[in-house]
């Protein structure tokens, strides 16, 4: 019951935030790029729900449009890391031997490396751009997925139902697609609900440092960067974009948590601990 509630709140929040992003052109009260020199740094009012920024742009509308970028980055980079990770994990676990060693060593190297630092390095080499941000986040996220898939497959391969499938004469490809992949999908799905918020967070961090998506495209991260200088005078400028980052990340984490409990992947100690304590 409680797990379903967590899942429900998480999914509802995600749906709501996605809707806001998708319907941004309809919902926005102002053109997110329209400047207004007379009305800069206005506090929230009935005309500007979230106030205005240093150029008199409507923060509410910019937050809506910023959500599109954040969600796009989150989803696309997750697809990338899940796709690459699942594929490499399957290949490594299935073929084993040298292939396994090489893939897992590379995964180790990428894992050891703080992704933020790698992102910094890559962004410094190429120009900061949306596609690069997606590539970097997706490209650093795959090792944990690959590890997960690999260990899951190795575990399943030992299981009796795979052994019996093999005894019945199933071919390798059939075993992978019919037995291993469907069973490994649960944990991977949960991994996805942790990967999206991580990507959203990394994008925001990079943009905040000025290394992510560049202005004038509004993102939550680069709005925060802008807002920092005016923090003393205009709390709303920084407050709302950050609040939306938080809500987005939180909703995915809630979903992941709920999903884990619903799929029975989380633990419950119904044993007798309280007996003696």
């Amino acid at each position: 019951m409680r797990s379903n509630l967590t899942l429900f709140i998480g999914l509802t929040l995600i749906a709501l935030l996605t809707m806001l992003a998708v319907l941004a052109p309809v919902l926005a009260t102002h053109d997110p790029a329209a400047t207004n020199a007379d009305k800069w740094l206005q506090p929230p009012s009935s005309e500007h729900f979230f106030g205005t920024d240093r150029l008199g742009r409507d923060v509410f509308s910019r937050v809506l449009y910023g959500g599109r970028v954040s969600l796009a980055v989150g989803l696309l980079s997750t697809f990338l890391s899940l796709g690459v990770g699942t594929l490499l994990g399957l290949v490594a676990s299935y073929y084993g031997g040298l292939v396994d060693v090489i893939i897992m060593r590379v995964a180790d190297i990428v894992l050891v490396f703080p992704s933020m630092l790698l992102a910094l390095t890559l962004v410094a080499i190429f120009e900061p751009a949306l596609w690069l941000v997606i590539l970097v986040i997706g490209g650093t996220g795959w090792p944990s997925v690959a590890r997960l898939v690999r260990s899951e497959v190795l575990r399943l391969r030992q299981s009796d139902f795979v052994a019996s499938a093999r005894l019945l004469g199933a071919k390798n490809a059939r075993i992978v697609w019919q037995h291993l992949l469907p069973n490994a999908i649960g944990p991977v799905l949960v991994a996805a609900t942790f990967s999206v918020p991580a990507a959203v967070m990394t994008e925001a961090g990079l943009s905040y440092l000025g290394l992510g998506v560049q202005p004038p495209t509004p993102t939550w991260g680069n709005m925060l960067r802008d807002a920092q200088l005016y923090l003393r005078y205009a709390w709303w400028y920084a407050f709302f974009p950050g609040l939306f980052i938080f809500l987005t990340v939180f909703s995915f984490h809630l979903t992941g948590e709920g999903l884990r409990q619903t799929l029975g992947l989380s633990q419950t100690a119904r044993r007798n601990w309280r007996a003696g304590s």
Binding site: R270, R271, N272, W273, R274, A275, G276
Partner: protein, 313 residues
């Protein structure tokens, strides 16, 4: 010495309570070995845990328990704290997972001695070695310093036994103590259990799914099926003259050389409503009344009870 009356253990499952032990009453006296036999899920382990006050935290436990003239209340779990380890001890099924992997095995026993008898550690270690020697964990001084993964299953179970009896409890519960062990080791462990019970005049509650183990060891037997005690009898009489069809089924399913095993495994799911006899679906003597009225346990003689409308013999 131990008297259990109307014990019930259940779990809350979406608004409905599912009982795994139903209305069970029995008693054990000092020096007696009581065997509880039944298939997996028959509630025998849960009965043992309830006596130890070790049921899962979300379990609903009801009934009365008199232990050495003390009335225990299942609502007060803390009351068991002073009994466990001192007055009652327990040996579990799997010695490998029941020993802390990071501790030398001697420490497991010494720890209990220090805790319960307030012994200095050095003395407790010596005591542990003595106990190890008497239980055949040899050479004791070496074994005491070894870790669980360095010992065989049989030795580990001996260590568990040592830890359970180091304070000479008056009640020892052994829950499937030999199931995880080789057959050759099985007899040795059972011997140790028996000699402890007889030597210290302690009650021993031996739980097993294996009739052979029970036949070798127990003085008296309870047969459990689906959370209910269906038959109680002295061990010899039980094997000679089983009164309950379920007991008969169990005995007949023992592999023998002189005939093929007859097992009725298929569950003929005749409409069984809530008030039917629990065994009705698998009973070959099942009649109309069995499907309508649940039998109550009744005494047949001084030492025998059975829970059946039509006891055999």
């Amino acid at each position: 010495m131990l008297e259990v009356k109307n014990l019930q253990v259940g779990f809350n499952e979406v608004g409905k309570i599912k009982w795994v032990v139903k209305n069970s009453s029995f008693s054990v006296s000092a020096g007696e070995i009581l065997g509880i036999v039944g298939e997996s899920g028959s509630g025998k382990s849960m009965t043992a845990l309830a006596i130890m006050g070790l049921c899962p935290v979300d379990a609903i436990v009801q009934g009365q328990l008199n232990f050495q003239n003390r009335k225990m209340n299942f609502a007060q779990r803390d009351a068991w704290q002073e009994l466990r380890g001192v007055e009652m001890g327990m040996v579990f099924q799997d010695p490998t997972s029941s020993l802390n992997p990071l501790y030398p095995v001697g420490q497991t026993v010494a720890e209990a001695l220090v805790f319960h008898k307030k012994m200095p550690l050095e003395e407790a270690k010596k005591e542990t070695e003595k106990l190890f020697t008497s239980l055949g964990i040899l050479p004791a001084a070496v074994r005491a310093r070894q870790y669980p993964h360095q010992l065989s299953g049989g030795l580990k179970q001996r260590v568990m036994l040592a830890a359970a009896i180091c304070c000479k409890p008056k009640l020892l519960i052994a829950d499937e103590p030999t199931t995880a062990l080789d057959v050759t080791v099985q007899a040795q462990i059972l011997n140790l259990l028996t000699s402890y019970a007889k030597g210290e005049n302690s009650a021993l509650l031996l739980i097993s799914h294996d009739l052979g183990v029970i036949a070798q060891t127990a003085d008296r037997v309870l047969v459990m099926c689906k959370g209910v005690i269906v038959e109680e009898a002295p061990v010899l009489e039980l094997f000679k003259k089983p009164l309950h069809p379920y007991t008969q089924l169990l005995i007949n399913s023992l592999p023998r050389l002189d005939r093929a095993v007859q097992l009725k495994t298929e569950k003929s799911e005749i409409v069984i409503n809530g008030s039917a006899c629990l065994f009705a679906g698998r009973c070959r003597y099942c009649r109309q009344i069995c499907l309508q009225v649940e039998p109550k346990i009744k005494a047949i003689s001084e030492k025998r009870r059975v829970c059946c409308h039509f006891p055999l013999f």
